[in-house]
Amino acid sequence: MYRRLLTSLVFAGLTVGTVAPAFAAEAQDTIDYRQRIMKTLDAQVAALGQILSGATPDDQVVSHLEVIALAAAQSAKSFEPKVEGGESLPVVWTKWDDFSAKMKDFEAKTRAAADTAKAQGKDAALSNILDALRCKDCHDVYRKKM
């Protein structure tokens, strides 16, 4: 009796087992992907931060702002699949309207900064750059505290 139950449980486990890895791998891919994009932002904002603090020459500001704008657009897309996990809190998807509005705002402001830098020079873009880089505002609500 128990043995039969056990067998069927094991069997069920196996069936799940054959399905689970494939699904888990896909979910993990989605998570890895958005994390790589976030890490791109991190690296480029760090580089820009060094320039703003005067530690590094400022001749590549336009390029950094363009990469940040591209990565912001990538990150907006990368959260579209509803895959919980990583450092994302479930509210990303339960409060999707707010989250995606924040992402769109981030995307629009970083794009504007990059375009301003190209058209009017870096100083025009940097004057209110911190308003475009409100990373923490989003993380405070939507990212797990590590």
């Binding site: 891919d29 992907y33 690296a43 530690a55 390029s63 591209l70 990538q74």
Partner: protein, 148 residues
């Protein structure tokens, strides 16, 4: 305002131009951030090609990779060797400066061509060029201390 704070601010203003000369750690950190960008974007791009994630951002990843390579070109100009702890660039980056610069320029040119193909014809056109467009490994083998 407190007298010490005032004094501190005055000193900060005075030494600011000196700091702007970029100390060695800043130089190393800067180029590492740029290489990290290349690492993350290359990995993301590969994921789009492997079908692990949608391919709709393939072109954006290629563009980003190209821009980051142009940043790298500048970032390696200052002759600042790592001490083995802070950075992994070999001294040959600067003792073989001409070869290193040639490779970096080639990497930029190949990624420019890849971007052109990607913009024109997406994965179908640029995909087959990927293997010959990435010099990451061949440069690292010569100019980067292997990871322990």
């Amino acid at each position: 305002m407190n007298r010490f704070v005032k004094c501190g601010l005055a000193i900060a203003v005075l030494i600011a131009p000196v700091v702007a000369q970029a100390d060695d750690a800043d130089v190393i950190n800067y180029r590492k951030q740029i290489m990290k960008t290349m690492g993350e974007q290359n990995a993301a791009m590969q994921m789009t090609l492997q079908g692990k994630v949608p391919a709709d951002q393939f072109v954006s990843h290629v563009k980003t990779l190209h821009l980051a390579a142009t940043q790298a070109l500048k970032a390696f100009e200052p002759e600042v060797q790592g001490d083995g702890m802070t950075g992994s660039a070999k001294p040959e980056v600067w003792s073989n400066k001409a070869d290193f610069a040639k490779r970096m320029n080639e990497q930029v040119a190949k990624l420019a061509a890849l971007e052109k193909a990607a913009v024109e014809g997406g994965v179908a056109k640029a995909g087959p060029m990927i293997q010959t467009s990435l010099d990451c490994r061949s440069c690292h083998e010569n100019y980067r201390v292997p990871k322990k």
